[in-house]
Symmetry: C2
Subunit: 396 residues, 2 copies
């Protein structure tokens, strides 16, 4: 029955993960992964949960009571948001300008909702005028969109969208998977109702947790549902009883080691300051972009709408997508991501997330990128990418 | 807005986790948690996924193609099983003799199914005659039950149940959360259709993964669903595309570090031999039971129906439940679990799971247990528990 073989010792390559995520784990976070675990209702763990909640509130910039990590990966955060908010028959306006917007639409549909899609090309933002018109002509009480589209590198401006959604008395769900901790995001000031993220992007933790925050207004919709949330595992009213309420009713066994990790990551983020982290991501992204442009290449997203955590570079017609990625991985141990969906073969995605967003990594990437491009016959003067990046660093 | 405080370094107590789970992590598994992560589609990780699948097939004793770890805790395994198999209107016979049977019932109901409950007292097994009668008088094509009820210490015999279910052309879903790797379980020989477990029990990994295996017969029901699985995150047809099929279509970012951990745990289990592990669990459980009985206490489950991984001890009337658990934790750094639901205050639950199922832990527990019982006024001759356990060890 079984393939009889000697399974080898684990020996993963030490790759610099500059793709769409996961990002490399902060070494200080790595250290706590091997701390002894305690029970999921142990008094010590309850304190760790409290710290995690407070630190997540700081990172989301919110006072929301329901602010906690869901025990699953980033898509589990999306699933939790949609499964709890959407009931059969609900119209939901979904902004789709990339792969993850499509995923939201699929989830809405599966939950019995009626997705009303406002689409834009993959690489463009959704304009407020289009949004306003659709919202006015629908009965939608829920709007869902992606803040930082990992598939396109686009940063969707939120201010007008939230304002218009609230004018129409709609709840706003925001996918901040590739934003949280790396891109400017103020949940309470903007008035976002549900916001979720992931541990393995700008928080430099292992994948496996999806931080989420839910406003009282959104919780009111959840508490007034006509039907129970179909997913017992993602039912926020049950999760609240375990994570937030003082009686701590057992729901499921939290992934203790991963909670240790995210608390440690957030503890360092808090010590350093959230706004400083945002600035670091912005500065390093800009340096990378100027470097790429100095090499004669173009970005996929328009200036002013580029996510500082994920940089999408348009692939010149004459260059082979896969050869460049392979060469970066084989010669420099650097991993970047291919395009997804309609952008497959059209863009490379270079992530600068969390601890990976560093001057060092920008310079290393540009140096390596120039060399592999040259090897593929793309002309460039040596060092021009790095020089352009250095100018940005000096000016900040 | 924020509570300004200095968050302390993580410093969890090193507790011996002899409760209902999580169990302590195998130190060899702990070591790989801090290995560098790679991308979820990296060629190295795809090999690790393949190894994990093969090793899980070995551990479940199955050839099922769909055998993989779900990216969530044990209850996510249950959710995946129920969400995929049950469609609106389906009658589902649920065997309920403890807390986790109740949970299955709730999940069936939420998925639009009609649970038909066969109940037994918490501590008793479900008899085949009762099962046969209910199944004959229903249109149920699905049966769900718990193999090892963590809440009662009962091991439900499976052979007759599976036989009868198949005679009635019903699919059988088995919760093996506290069985896999510790209790005799042969998925293919028995003919179980869907079986799920958890990483943090007899596999001595951190919580966060739910191994699951699904027969072709069960997959046929899933593939012929009239409606899509409501949960995108737990949709086995999508997960299959990422985990099992050779094209490896991106679904979600697997929790890389936890997959490293479960592969390492399974690698050692495979090297040592599954049947040897079963015997170890049986022997240590029996020694613990004889020791407890020598102290004059009784087990909650009947002889012959006791789970070797979780030992439920009835609390004598004159003894205070909480004092004993507190005293074990404070004086011996040992954590055991309280009863759940109707058994709260009535039983203690002592887990001997995975690496924690050892002669050393049996002796340590009995020694400590005798002392804390004595302190609470319960009479016993010194060393009688340990002596009885030693007799078992010698006889095996």
């Amino acid at each position: 029955m079984m393939k009889l073989k000697a399974y080898e010792e684990l020996n993963p390559p030490n790759v610099l993960l500059l793709g769409g995520g996961p990002s490399n784990i902060d070494p200080r976070v790595m250290a706590v992964l091997s701390s002894p675990i305690v029970g999921h209702l142990d008094p010590y763990f309850l304190e760790i949960m409290d710290d995690t909640i407070e630190l997540l509130r700081y990172t989301f910039k919110t006072n929301n009571n329901i602010t906690l990590p869901i025990s699953g990966t980033g898509s589990a955060g999306m699933q939790t948001a949609i499964s709890n908010i959407v009931e059969g028959g609900d119209e939901v306006v979904v902004l789709v300008n990339g792969y993850f917007g499509e995923r939201i639409k699929d989830m809405v549909y599966r939950c019995g909702g009626k997705p009303i899609v406002i689409a834009a090309d993959w690489g463009k933002t959704i304009k407020k005028e289009a949004f306003e018109e659709v919202l006015e002509n629908s009965n939608a009480q829920v709007v869902a969109l992606v803040h930082t589209e990992t598939s396109t590198g686009v940063l969707q401006p939120l201010r007008d969208i939230v304002r218009i959604a609230h004018l129409h008395d709609s709840l706003l769900i925001v996918d901040a998977v590739t934003s949280l901790g790396g891109c400017e995001l103020d949940v309470d000031a903007l008035g976002i109702d549900v916001c979720f993220s992931a541990s393995q992007k700008c928080l430099s933790c292992p994948p496996g947790l999806a931080p989420i925050t839910v406003s009282e207004r959104a919780m009111a919709k959840i508490r007034n549902r006509k039907t129970k949330v179909q997913s017992w595992y993602f039912d926020l009213s049950l999760i609240e009883e375990y994570w937030v309420n003082r009686n701590r009713v057992y729901h499921h066994t939290a992934p203790i080691s991963l909670i240790y990790a995210i608390r440690e990551s957030l503890r360092f983020l808090y010590g350093e300051g959230l706004e400083k982290r945002w600035l670091t991501h912005k500065r390093n992204s800009l340096a990378l972009i100027r470097g790429v442009e100095a090499l004669g290449l173009k970005m996929n997203a328009e200036e002013g709408y580029r996510a500082p955590s994920i940089n999408a570079i348009s692939i010149p017609d004459e260059i082979n997508d896969e050869n460049i990625r392979k060469s970066l991985r084989e010669n420099f141990n650097i991993s970047i991501s291919a395009g997804l969906g309609v952008l497959k073969g059209k863009i490379w995605r270079v992530g600068l997330m969390g601890v990976n967003s560093s001057e060092r990594n920008v310079l290393l990437f540009l140096e390596a990128f120039e060399r592999v491009l040259n090897k593929e016959g793309y002309p460039s003067k040596p060092n021009q990418g790095v020089s352009a990046a250095m100018d940005v660093f000096k000016s900040f």
